[in-house]
């Protein structure tokens, strides 16, 4: 039994350490401002823009898009910065030299961010209930929760790709911000995807959160999850693909940097 429990314990311990390494240095006030204040302000801003542009009768649709897209804050600025932070702290070489494989190193790092992302959305939804007439029927909450979990998983897996790219880049901040803005624009959170040029629309379908936003809007309009399982499976599948790409990139880049002796010099 202990043989089964130990890896799980280790998995959670790694996840907790990774999360603490990002936020433990902050006071509670700083943590709330970074983790909740900035994302919620962004949601509020774009929802108010939508209120003006699309009218108050459609506000909930756009509010939902902007609430779900909040998970990218954890994915991009949390998970996405983990490896470059290790590089800055001088602990990357210890991590690479450890017996754990890439998957074991990277997956736990997404764990608490997944739940943190959902918590941010949940607080966003409370704001929506107070100010933007967001009222989800009680029977839809479970399905909504499942979709948010899938959304958060897929976004965090996407964050792993960014984290791996960060190993080979000195301009991670630039990458993080370009990617976060792209998610705002390409996921359909703020305007219909059909407005995008035709050649960009397939890219939109390859982004995390696009399907989750559609699903959450459908659930809000009363469509049961069972009618859109292909979207849910699509989001989870996308998350798995992102995870494989992220892990492979990590392996390739670390191998290459070890061979050329530039692990911490990119």
């Amino acid at each position: 039994m202990a043989g089964l429990i130990d890896p799980i314990k280790r998995f959670f311990r790694k996840g907790t350490f990774a999360y603490k390494s990002t936020f433990a240095v902050m006071s509670l006030q700083q943590y709330l401002m970074v983790n909740l204040g900035a994302p919620l302000m962004q949601m509020l801003c774009f929802t108010l823009v939508a209120n003006y542009v699309y009218g108050s009768q459609n506000i909930t649709t756009w509010f939902i898009g902007n609430a779900v897209v909040l998970t990218y804050f954890n994915a991009i600025f949390g998970v996405g910065t983990h490896l470059s932070a290790e590089k800055s702290f001088g602990t990357l070489k210890l991590l690479i030299a450890s017996p754990s494989n890439g998957f074991n190193l990277l997956l736990p790092r997404t764990l608490l961010h997944i739940f943190d992302g959902i918590l941010t959305i949940f607080i966003g939804l409370i704001i929506g209930a107070l100010f933007f007439d967001f009222h989800l029927p009680i029977e839809a909450w479970l399905s909504f929760g499942v979709v948010l979990l899938a959304a958060s998983f897929s976004a965090m897996a996407f964050g792993l790709i960014i984290a791996s790219i960060g190993l080979a880049s000195r301009d991670l901040n630039l990458i993080l911000n370009v990617v976060s803005m792209s998610l705002l624009g390409l996921t359909g959170a703020n305007f219909p995807i059909s407005r995008l040029p035709e050649f960009i629309q397939p890219i939109s379908q390859m982004m995390p959160l696009t399907r989750s936003i559609t699903l959450c809007r459908a659930l809000y309009e009363g469509t049961p999850l069972s009618e859109n399982t292909h979207l849910l499976l699509g989001e989870i599948g996308l998350g798995v693909i992102f995870m494989i790409i992220g892990t492979s990139l990590f392996k390739i880049l670390t191998k290459k940097s070890i061979q050329s002796g530039v692990l911490e010099f990119f």
């Binding site: 700083q30 401002m33 900035a38 108010l48 003006y52 542009v53 630039l174 305007f191």
Partner: protein, 259 residues
Amino acid sequence: MSTINAVIASASQQFKTSIGRPMFRFCVIGQPILFGLILGMIYLEKSNIDFTLFAVFGSGLSTFWSSICFSSASDIHRERWYGTLETIYSAPVGFKWIVLGKIIGNSIWGVFSIGLSFSVVVLLFQRQIIIGNLSLLLVGLFLMTLSLIAIGYLFAALFTLSRNARIMMNFMEYPVYILCGILFPLEQLPLLIRSFAYVLSPTWAVKIIHLAVSGSSLFSAINYIVGLVVITIIYGVLAVYFFEKIDVKCRVEATLEVY
């Protein structure tokens, strides 16, 4: 004269070096393009006036504000990290003048980002851009630049003794977009919040730009022009006052680099 030379030299040095930072490069090049595209898509089916106000000028003004948040407000913090804060602090010309030069250097890039965002949105969306009163628009943009320099100066002073500068600069970005009517009309907000918005100078600048776009005369915008000038002067005076206070505090407590 030596003070003016120091301000110009500091502005010139900041103009050349700030663009070397990836985050600032994103603020003045990446964000105007991406924000312009997103706002252009959102306002695609609105009237030409709305498109001009919020997609064209909204994206420009918001990126200018972001460049203030991610540079001017945190430049002191950065100098502290570089270990150069003591050196510029003890320069004979005066710390506050060197900081003013830095803010001016950053703001020149801010003006560039407005131009970039304007060009990108106009070229890609091919919409008719309405500018009813060009001279009023130029007056508005000029005063807005001065006002943002004053805000950046005030933030630089306030954040000299703060460890929260980096956190604050991330948090300040969107509240100003919301409160100042940069991305949507201020009238969307409840009356109580709207009255608070007039404490912030971008609100006045945005009003002048809106009047310029809708073709109002210089005379009809005079209240907003006076309001913007007064509030800019207040920011400037407050900034100088805080710099004086901080100077005394740092020398008495010897804590300049500890924060």
